[in-house]
Point group: C3
Chain length 178, copies 3
């Protein structure tokens, strides 16, 4: 029924934590943004070889979703969240006559967006192997905006071992790092 | 469309794992408890400087939610879960005439609470930077009780590098740690 | 209201990342498979003593759920997902006359399975202490199949410190590792 197919043990000598903050700009009220390459680029720029990257949104009306990025499926996701937490519904959070807390000057009705975000994740942790996100064939990391357009931030926390230092050709044996 | 705004690489010399178990007591059947300060206090007490803290519930009728902690929004979340998994609904798990497994002396109907918990997370991983939880302006870590009142446990697993040892004033240069 | 009940600091000398890929075979369209022992066995085989294991599905019509594994409750979960994302519903993803992307030779209607997977997690991170998954009394790690029967892969990423090397009896003091 089940088989363990492979084990890879990294070099334990040089563990590191790396933090990155990514800024993205959404253009629509509801939007699915494929951030897979953005995250993989950041992982490679940081030099993480083996470990995990935790992708975290810094917002309460957005979420992280790992699924297939196919346009018609995104329409299905949109319809799903509209059924589960309809835009046109009376949310107490949007009753500005009653509400007294966390009010800002530019407050707008977004109770539906909070409820939808509650059904997604704030963070997902993805395996990194040899500098690549270890995702399945159809898996993409999707940033989901439920209350755009806005400037948004994602934080990446990478934990693991760095890329082995490469031997630089033509620089003599003293350039070969241990 | 996207920009990597900062990179911070921690001291890789002293990696550690720290485990903590927090005990909390809920007072109501459905309850949203802001545990952000509790977790941040535990992180600081443990001395984690840079890394991640994984917040995990040890129960199957509770969940972890990172969202805004605003009283009217919590009422919206309560209504959301009541719509998605109503309290008054026939759950097979609550049919004690049919059920034969996992029965305890104090068994009570809580099928709705399991279904709601299934729509939340058992764990969320939060970035820790300079001893602080790296959350956005409105983000709070919320422990969600769907079958209270009960005594509950949260486990925290912290991975990363410890606080740099502080220079103690007035103790001479030999007290300055490297 | 809350108490920190214990702290355990691991040996920080020998951090490691370990990757494993598990292959499982599902037998039904919708299936809940308890993979707790499978994961714990892999953790022990890998020799992880203290840290975390991130359990990640490599598929977009499956999910990871940590909850109670009780047969009647599983029937409730099945009914829950059927209510939230019904099998008999028109999903744009399944409109093969309109769809142009990500089409394979063996494409079958599975929009409902993607929508259900979107409501679960792709990954959960579980604490490991003394080589055991640190789960509560009723918690099981459940692999949820929404589009079976299929061959499926789970990846495990373990981060932490290895088992202390055991003193081997009868082999003399030189066999005692530091």
């Amino acid at each position: 029924m089940a088989a363990v197919s492979e084990t890879y043990v990294s070099d334990a000598a040089a563990f590191a934590v790396l933090h990155k903050t990514l800024t993205i700009h959404t253009a629509h009220q509801t939007q699915f943004m494929d951030v897979t390459r953005l995250i993989e680029g950041a992982v490679q720029q940081a030099g993480l070889h083996s470990g995990t990257v935790t992708v975290q949104t810094r917002h309460t009306t957005t979420g992280i979703l790992i699924n297939e990025y196919e346009p018609l499926l995104l329409a299905d996701f949109r319809a799903l969240f509209e059924r589960l937490a309809p835009t046109r519904f009376e949310y107490a959070h949007d009753d500005f006559l009653r509400r007294t807390e966390n009010l800002t000057a530019d407050e707008r009705p977004n109770g539906h967006a909070h409820c939808r975000a509650a059904l997604l994740r704030s963070s997902e942790t993805v395996s990194v192997r040899q500098g690549l996100l270890d995702l399945g064939q159809w898996q993409r990391v999707i940033f989901v905006e439920f209350d755009g357009a806005q400037r948004r931030q994602l934080t990446l926390t990478m934990i693991g071992t760095p890329m082995p230092t490469r031997v630089l050709a033509g620089r003599g044996s003293e350039a070969i790092s241990r």
